[in-house]
C-alpha cells in the first residue's frame, strides 16, 4: 500500500493523476450510462454501457457477441438517440438488424470494404470515382485504417451517442500493429461527452478506465428444435457473458440466450 501511495503521490506531483482510475470523476444520474436491451445485462453493467468511455464486447464466433452489440444499438435507437456502426468489413445485415429492434433510420452505417480474410477478394461494388484503397501498408491495414479514421470522425462530431466499431474479422496480428495512441485518442475525444464507444472484436482490444469488458462465450450450447432431419431448426444459443470493469475486483457472469431469426420465426 505504501508503494501504491508513493506512486500516486508521484503521479499527482507530475500532474498525471488523471490516469488514476480512483480520481476519475463519476458521472451521476441515469444519463451516465447507455442501457442495453436486456435487464440482466443492465444489472451486471451497473445500468448500461458508460457514456464517455470505451467499452468492448469480445468472444468467439457464434457466441452472441454481435447480438449484444446490436441489442445496445437497438436500445439506444429506441430511446431516440442517433447511433453509428463502423462496419470494417461490411458484415452488417439490415433485415436481421431490423428484426433485432434497431431503428435503421437512426443508424449511421459506415460500410467498409467487403473483403475476406485472405485479402484476395475485393468488393467489385467499390465504386469508381472515389478514392482508391491505396497508400502505405497492406490492403487489409488500409481498410482498418479507414475504419479507425471513420471512428475518429464520428466520435469527434458528437452526432451519435453510441458508436460501435466492428473489428471482429480483423486478424489479431493487424490489431496488435495498431498503435496504442489510437485508442487513447478515441478515449480523449469522448471523455466527458454523451457518446459511448463499443469495440466489437474477437479478442480484447482496448477499454478505457471507466469502460466495461463483456466477454461472451464459454459453455455455449446451440438449441435445436425438431427431432427429424427435415423438421429440425436452430432456435438459439445459450451461453454466458462475463462482465468486468476496472473498479470491480471480480467479473460478473450473466446467462445469455439468443434467438435465431429465420423464415420460420
Amino acid at each position: 500500500m505504501a508503494a501504491r501511495a508513493a506512486v500516486e503521490a508521484l503521479l499527482r506531483e507530475k500532474k498525471l493523476d488523471r490516469t488514476l482510475t480512483s480520481t476519475l470523476p463519476e458521472r451521476p444520474g441515469e444519463d451516465a450510462v447507455s442501457p442495453v436491451g436486456s435487464d440482466a445485462l443492465n444489472r451486471a453493467l451497473a445500468g448500461g454501457v458508460p457514456r464517455g468511455q470505451v467499452s468492448e464486447v469480445v468472444g468467439p464466433a457464434s457466441s452472441g457477441r454481435t447480438s449484444v452489440a446490436w441489442a445496445a444499438l437497438a436500445a439506444a435507437s429506441r430511446r431516440g438517440e442517433s447511433i453509428a456502426l463502423i462496419d470494417t468489413f461490411d458484415r452488417f445485415d439490415p433485415p436481421t438488424a431490423h428484426a433485432c429492434g434497431i431503428d435503421l433510420s437512426r443508424l449511421l452505417w459506415v460500410r467498409g470494404q467487403a473483403v475476406s480474410k485472405t485479402a484476395a477478394a475485393i468488393d467489385p461494388a467499390w465504386l469508381p470515382g472515389v478514392r482508391a484503397v491505396n497508400g502505405p501498408g497492406t490492403f487489409l491495414e488500409r481498410v482498418i485504417d479507414r475504419a479507425i479514421k471513420s471512428l475518429n470522425l464520428v466520435v469527434q462530431s458528437g452526432v451519435c451517442t453510441l458508436v460501435v466499431i466492428d473489428l471482429i474479422d480483423v486478424p489479431a496480428t493487424a490489431l496488435r500493429r495498431l498503435p496504442a495512441s489510437t485508442w487513447f485518442r478515441i478515449e480523449r475525444a469522448i471523455e466527458g461527452s454523451d457518446t459511448a464507444v463499443m469495440i466489437l472484436a474477437a479478442q480484447p482490444v482496448a477499454r478505457s478506465a471507466g469502460g466495461r469488458s463483456m466477454v461472451v462465450g464459454g459453455d455455449t450450447r446451440i438449441q435445436w428444435r425438431g427431432s427429424h432431419d427435415r423438421t429440425r431448426r436452430v432456435i438459439g444459443v445459450c451461453t454466458r457473458a462475463s462482465i468486468s470493469a476496472a473498479r470491480c475486483s471480480h467479473a460478473q457472469d450473466v446467462p445469455l440466450a439468443t434467438t435465431v431469426v429465420n423464415a420460420l420465426t
Binding site: A61, G80, D93, C100, G101, R111, G129, V130, T258
Partner: protein, 489 residues
Amino acid sequence: MFAALYAPSVPAAALAGVARQFTPRFEHLGAVILLDAGGLSRLFGTAQQLGEHLRDALSKLSPGDTIPRVAIASTQTAAALLALGSPGLTVVMPGKEAIVLAPLSVGVLDQFERLSGSGLRASGPPGLQASEPSGWHHPRHTHQASRGKRRAPDNRVLDILGKWGIRTLGALSALPGPDIHERLGDRGAYWQQLARGMDARPMVPWVDDVPFEVSLELEWPIEGLEPLSFVLARLLEPLAEQLERADRGAAAIYTSLRLTTRSVFTRTLQLPAPMRDPKTLRTLILLDLESHPPDAPIDVVRVFIEPTPARVLQWTLLARAQPAPEQVTTLVARLTALMGEGHVGSPGLVDTWKPGAFEMREFHVNHPIDNRPSPNSHPIKESSIAELTSALRRFRCPVPTRVAVHEGRPVRVQTDRQGFSSGAIVQAAGPWRTSGEWWEETGQLASGPAGQQGGWDRDEWDVAMPDGTIYRLVVEREVGQWCLEGVID
C-alpha cells in the same frame, strides 16, 4: 408615412419602377403600389413636395388624358384608399385620416379588397383568416400568386350596408363598433377599421428575385484544393450574408469551374437541410471536390445557390437535443470522402423477399418525435437471463466452399479461406428454399449481396460446426455452387 400610387393605365412593372426610384421598400397591393415614405423628407422635402415628385414621375408614364392618383398618409390603408377614391394628389396630415376618408364611397373598400386580393385578406383579422384557406405567405409568393388567384369578392357586407343606407366611409366609421361586429361579424369590424384608416397589418415590402450567384475570374489558374478553398471562402462569405439578409438558406449548391482546357466542370450538392454557414458550405464543396477533383487547373470559379426558406427550429425540452444539420451533413460528407459514395448512410429495407436486400438512404437526425412504442420494439423483460435476438453477420462477398452431401444433406464443409472453420458438420437444419425475381432480366435493387443481382433460386442451411460456429450455408440451385453466406452471432 406611406405613399400610394394608382394609375390603372400604367403597367404594374412600370409603377414598381417609379416606386423603386424613390425607395426600395414598397409593396404591391394589386394595381396599387404602396411606398414606405418614412425618411424620404431629407431627399424630397415635405410630404406635399414628395407627392408632387411622385405625381410628376407618374405623369411621364401616363397617357395625357388620365390623371395619376397619388396619396400620402400616415397609415398605409388610408393612403391606399385615398389613391383609389380621390383623383390627383392627396396629402393627409397625421391624425386626419378618418376625416379625409369620410366622403369616400363605401364601394372603395370593395375595390380595395379586389385589388389587394388574398394578400390583405390573409393578414386581416383572425376571423377572416380562419374563413380563408390561405395562410401566411412570403410576400413574393403572396403577391405573385394573388394576381392569378383573384376571386370575386363577397359583396354581402356591401349589400347590407347599402340596405342600411350607409354610403360613405364616414357613415360606416360612425357606427358603433360592437353593433357592427354583432351584425356583420369579423368582416364588418374589419371594414369599419379600414374606413377609419387603420392598418390591419404591417407593410410587407416586395422582395426582388435576386440570384444567389457569385463568380470570380482568376488572374492565374489555380491547381489543387488548398488555393481553391481561399477562393471559395471569398465567394461564399458575401453569398452567406446575402442569404441571411433574405432569410434564406441553401438547398443546393452548384459549383461550376471553368478549366484551362475550356471545359466547364460542374458539381451539384443537394443539402438535406437549409444552411448558410459559409464555413460549412465551403467544407462541403471541398469534400465533394476531393472525391471528384477537376482534371485541369481552374480559370473561373462560379457558385450558384438555390435558396429555400430558412429553417424554423422548435425543439422540445423533454427530448434529447439533436445535433445541428450542418454538423451531420459535414460528418457525412467527410465520411463519404473517406469511404466512398454509397458506403455512408442509413440502411433501409426494401419490399422484397430477397435475402439480405437493402438500400442506402441519406442519414439525417430530424426524426419526428414519437413516443409510441414501435411495432418492432422489444420490451425489456425482468429476467435473470439476458434474452437477445441473434445477429447475422453477412458475408457481402459470399465465401465459396466445398460441401460434401449425403442423402441430400450437407455433412462436411471445407474452405480454403483463413479464419473459417472447416470439417464435419455437427448438426444441420434446412433446406429453406427461396426464389424470386426470376422474371426479371436484371435486378431492380440498387444494393444487395454482391454477386446476387437479379433473380435467385437457392437453398439455405443453418449448420453447426465442431467449434460451435453456426454458418448460414447456401447453394445456388442453378449452378450448384455452395457458399458461406454468413455466421449467426
